[in-house]
Structures are given as structure tokens and as C-alpha cells.
């Protein structure tokens, strides 16, 4: 039995008040809140066994290394990776994607090659490729969307060709909430010999994933969007690919041997973990995975789906709401972006904030998508495992307050 009120007890921040009102946190796509176990694991590391990893032969060093490596094992199991060698710790999804652009793209792409993205990508899955394209003279293509915000699979197929070397695509749109059909996409991409990089920043926190079944070549995601601390990201890669890639950051920890003339790289995953890692963060992330496993991703997914269904229904009954993305809970996850009358998203968000409700306003690091929607900004409410129907109700009520503040007045059309 999924008891959301009992779950909320595990998150100290949810007892906070904002502007004198109970916090209603609906900005989970930006970052999620942390349960006590995660917060305490980080403190415990610093209080009881702070030491650098993989070096010390002393007690603390061994203990820290064990805790750090345990998270690697937990992550591998969480995404059903075949081996811990496939799991690299980075500082976030952004770094994971940049690592692929740098270590794989720079080595294997050549003039005339193409990378296929979609119009719903986050800037962190656009900009690294633009940087690379300038350097290597490669082409970036964007697959368009259908009117309901889902990926236009036919257009996607048409853009795929022998020239396509990489398809880099988000699991779930951080604006539209759309879930992409990744299994179909990897099949199509592999047919033309392209690799697939899955941006799992949104998606992995809520949908049970099996990287071997999806057959993606790379997967990038962030700890902080799934109860873990900021500053920890994961890159999963197929072993044979990681093996032939060059290192990303040169330094300590990523080498077997260094002479004045040359160095020999360490084996994976250490080849990609130069410098002292975010040890406390990784250890904290282990506890986040433990927490997610204790609830079960299936149950989390179901809870979110019912919340989104409810929120969509309520939002659609508010006059003057425009929702971007599918308006049913099919193929969509915990994110709803919208605009309210002609009121600018920043004004909406400021007024909601006065009611204790945290939503995001802006372009959500997806400007090309907003441009294609013909808007410059939107409001975004995103839900996670601790949100309740009552919070959705408060959010809808607060929208009336927005309207009142603006004296029910629309901006004159200019």
C-alpha cells in the first residue's frame, strides 16, 4: 500500500513553511527533495569516515572506498546494467553528455557525419553537440514533434540515414512530460548503424528501466532528480564502447602509470573518473536508490500517473489554461507545462510563491522547443513521489489568486 502521508514524514523539508504557508513543492523536474536517510548518510561520512577513496590503505580510506563502490553496484542493479564497469560517476547529466561528446565524438566522428536530436531536447543535449559540430564539421538534425507534443516518428525515420552516427534523445521531455518510445528508437537507430545516447535525467527517477532491454548504448542521468544530492551524475555505457573511448579528464585516479613521456590509462570505469570524486554525494545517492527501491519504482510510477491524471483534469477545467503536450496521461509523465490567460509565467510563479507553491517559470532550458510552440516561456508544475492530490487542489485554488491579482484583466493584445 502506497501511503503518501507516511512517505512525506521522511522528507524534513516538506514541513517547512514558505511565506507563512505550508510548502507545496511542484518543481521536482528541477530537483527533488531529499529523505532523511540521504541527508544523514552524507553527514555520517563526514563525521565518521571522511577519507579519499582508492588510495588510503588505512581504515577510513577503505571504509569510504567500500561505501562509494557500493553505490556503483546499486546503480548498476537499478538500471539493470551487466557490470559495474559500465557505471561512471560524473557531476551530472550535463557532464555525462559532454563526456560522450568529448571522448567518443571527438575520436570517432568525422566531417559529414550526422547527429540526430529531437526538438524537445534540453540545452544540455544540444549545446555539447553544437560545440562538437563546429570542431568536427558534423551536422545536427532535429526530429520534429506532432501537434500533441509527441515525437513524430515518421519524420524521425526519414531523418535517419547511413550518415547518422548518433541519436541523442531524452527519455521524457522536461517541458511536455512526453515519454519517448526508446525501444523503437534504438531499433531504428541500430539498423542504420547509429548509436543511441539516452538522456534519462527525466524518466529514470520514475520509470523502471532496463538498459539491456532498451539496448541503449549510453545513458546519462542525475542523482539530484531522484532524491540524491546535487553534484552526482551517472554515465552508463556499453563496456566495449567505453573501452575504446579516450579519457575525459586527465589527472589522478584515471591512470595505471605515468612517466615523463606518456601515461597508461586505468581500466574502465576509473579511466573516466579523474580527480577526487564527490564521495559524500555518491554515498548519499546510494541511500536515495535504497529509498526508491524500498517503495518500488512501479508504485512510484503509478502514484505519479494518477497525480498527473488528476492534475490534468483539474487544470483543463480552469478557464484560460493552455497545456503544452498531451492532455491525457497516455505517453506522459509527471510534468505539466502551461500558460494561464495572457499572464506572464513569471508573474504567475511569483504569485503562486506567495501562496507557498513552488513552480518553475521560464524556458526550462528548452528554448528551441519553446520557439516551436510559439512562446518564449511557460509555467511548469512537476510532481514526484511525495506529492498529494490536496497539493494539486491548492495549486489550482492559487491560480484563482493569480487571476484576482491581475483583476481578471488580460493584457491588451498589442
Amino acid at each position: 500500500m502506497y501511503d503518501v502521508y507516511k512517505i512525506r514524514e521522511d522528507f524534513p523539508i516538506l514541513k517547512e513553511k514558505v511565506n507563512g504557508k505550508p510548502l507545496v513543492y511542484l518543481d521536482n523536474s528541477a530537483t527533488t527533495q531529499k529523505p532523511t536517510t540521504v541527508i544523514e548518510a552524507i553527514c555520517q561520512y563526514y563525521r565518521q569516515y571522511n577519507a579519499n577513496i582508492h588510495r588510503g590503505v588505512h581504515y577510513l580510506g577503505i571504509k569510504a572506498t567500500e561505501a562509494y563502490e557500493k553505490t556503483r553496484k546499486d546503480v548498476a542493479e537499478f538500471i539493470k546494467a551487466p557490470s559495474t564497469n559500465c557505471i561512471i560517476f560524473t557531476k551530472g547529466t550535463t557532464e555525462s553528455i559532454n563526456l560522450i561528446a568529448y571522448s567518443w565524438g571527438r575520436k570517432f566522428l568525422k566531417k559529414g557525419d550526422e547527429i540526430l536530436l529531437t526538438l524537445m531536447e534540453h540545452h544540455s543535449n544540444i549545446v555539447p553537440w553544437q560545440i562538437l559540430s563546429k570542431e568536427k564539421d558534423i551536422k545536427i538534425k532535429f526530429a520534429p514533434l506532432n501537434n500533441d507534443g509527441t515525437l513524430n516518428l515518421n519524420a524521425f525515420k526519414d531523418l535517419l540515414s547511413e550518415k547518422t552516427k548518433l541519436v541523442s534523445i531524452t527519455y521524457v521531455s522536461n517541458v511536455l512530460g512526453v515519454i519517448n518510445p526508446i525501444k523503437d528508437i534504438t531499433e531504428l537507430a541500430h539498423k542504420v548503424g547509429a548509436l543511441v545516447l539516452l538522456d534519462g535525467a527525466q524518466g529514470v527517477p520514475s520509470i523502471p528501466i532496463n538498459v539491456q532491454e532498451l539496448d541503449v548504448d549510453f545513458l546519462a542521468f542525475s542523482a539530484h532528480k531522484m532524491l540524491g544530492p546535487t553534484g552526482v551524475g551517472i554515465l552508463y555505457g556499453k563496456e566495449e564502447l567505453l573501452d575504446i573511448m579516450d579519457p575525459f579528464l586527465g589527472g589522478g585516479e584515471m591512470i595505471k602509470k605515468v612517466t615523463e613521456e606518456y601515461s597508461i590509462w586505468a581500466d574502465i570505469p576509473y579511466k573516466f573518473e579523474g580527480g577526487t570524486q564527490n564521495i559524500a554525494g555518491v554515498i548519499g545517492f546510494g541511500k536515495a536508490i535504497e529509498y526508491l527501491n524500498s517503495l518500488g519504482l512501479e508504485s512510484i510510477y503509478k502514484h505519479e500517473k494518477s497525480l498527473v491524471s488528476y492534475a490534468l483534469k483539474r487544470l483543463l477545467s480552469v478557464e484560460g489554461i493552455t497545456i503544452y503536450g498531451p492532455t491525457t496521461d497516455n505517453h506522459r509523465l509527471n510534468i505539466i507545462s502551461f500558460n494561464y490567460k495572457n499572464i506572464h509565467p513569471h508573474d504567475v510563479a511569483t504569485i503562486l510563491d506567495q501562496e507557498g507553491i513552488a513552480v518553475r517559470a521560464g524556458h526550462h532550458c528548452a528554448q528551441p522547443l519553446h520557439l516551436s510552440l510559439g512562446i518564449s516561456a511557460s509555467c511548469r508544475a512537476s510532481f514526484y513521489l511525495y506529492n498529494t492530490q490536496e497539493e494539486v487542489d491548492k495549486f489550482i485554488e492559487a491560480l484563482k489568486r493569480v487571476d484576482r491579482t491581475f483583476k481578471n484583466g488580460n493584457r491588451r493584445t498589442l
Binding site: 506572464h344 509565467p345 513569471h346 508573474d347 511569483t350 519553446h370 518564449s376 489568486r401 491579482t405 498589442l414
Partner: protein, 163 residues
């Protein structure tokens, strides 16, 4: 602080009925080629708000101005008020006002009483993340004037001949 203290009547009025909105009418004989026609634009990259200004300068005086833009109530109301405030003033006076507005909005100085309507926007001091919205139009104008001065100095004479 109550939200109505931020979204005061006068602000909503400027937002809903912006003054000096649109383009300067350059086809009229009055303006045709007569004065340097300046434009300036700027964006708040955090939120995508944008402001586009057109203005005319004669003898170091800003004699007319229009704005267009997209953004929240605060940024557009601020732009609308600004156009009313600066029209007819000398560049020197405008630059002084820009500094004053910045320092008051950023909380360094007390009051904007010389600016009448614009005082309503002082409330933004309690909403630090929105300060950029209010200052956008002012920083765009500041850049625009700087630009004008640079070109004007390079071109030698001020005013009519520099076109």
C-alpha cells in the same frame, strides 16, 4: 508582504495599456532623416524577457521613444513608465536617472520620489529574483545611449549630420 503591494494598480495599468508602445513613425516629414534614429535591444537570458527600444536624439535631448517587448508585467510596466519619464530629457539627465533607478531598486538608495508613477515599482525590492525584470528596459536604454555616444564621437558632430 502582500502580493498586491508588488502588483499595484498603476503597474497593472501600464502593463495592460503600455504607453509609447510600437514603432516610431519615421515616414512623417517631421522625422524624415532629421535626427539620428537609434535602436537598442536586450534580453534577460534567465527568463527570455526582451525589450526593443527606438529613440530619437536632437541636441543631446531624447525627443521621442517607443518600445516593444515581451515579458512579465513588471518588465513591461517598467519599460512603459520609463518611456514617459525619459521623453524630453537630456542624455545627461537620463543617465543620472538610470543610475538612480538602479541604485534604488537594488536597495542602495532610499527613495524614487522624483519619479512619481515609477515609485510603485519599488516594491520589487522585496522580490530579489524579479529585480532584473524591472531593470531590463533601463539597462537597454543605458546601452543604447552609450552606443549613440560612441558613434557620435566617432562621427564627429552631434545631431543632424551624424546620420
Amino acid at each position: 508582504m502582500e502580493i498586491e503591494e508588488l502588483y499595484k494598480e498603476i503597474i497593472l495599468d501600464h502593463y495592460q495599456n503600455p504607453r509609447n508602445y510600437g514603432d516610431l513613425d519615421l515616414s512623417s516629414t517631421f522625422y524624415r532623416g532629421a535626427y539620428p534614429f537609434c535602436t537598442a535591444e536586450g534580453e534577460n537570458s534567465l527568463c527570455g524577457d526582451s525589450i526593443y527600444l527606438q529613440f530619437l536624439i536632437e541636441d543631446d535631448k531624447l525627443i521621442d521613444i517607443r518600445f516593444r517587448g515581451e515579458g512579465c508585467a513588471l518588465s513591461l510596466a517598467s519599460a512603459s513608465m520609463m518611456t514617459e519619464i525619459v521623453k524630453g530629457k537630456t542624455l545627461e539627465e537620463i543617465e543620472r536617472l538610470i543610475d538612480k533607478v538602479k541604485s534604488v531598486i537594488e536597495g542602495k538608495e532610499e527613495s524614487l520620489d522624483e519619479l512619481e508613477d515609477f515609485q510603485a515599482l519599488e516594491g520589487v525590492r522585496n522580490f530579489p529574483v524579479r529585480i532584473k525584470c524591472v531593470l531590463l528596459a533601463w539597462t537597454v536604454l543605458e546601452e543604447g545611449i552609450k552606443d549613440y555616444k560612441k558613434k557620435n564621437q566617432a562621427g564627429g558632430k552631434n545631431g543632424k549630420d551624424s546620420k
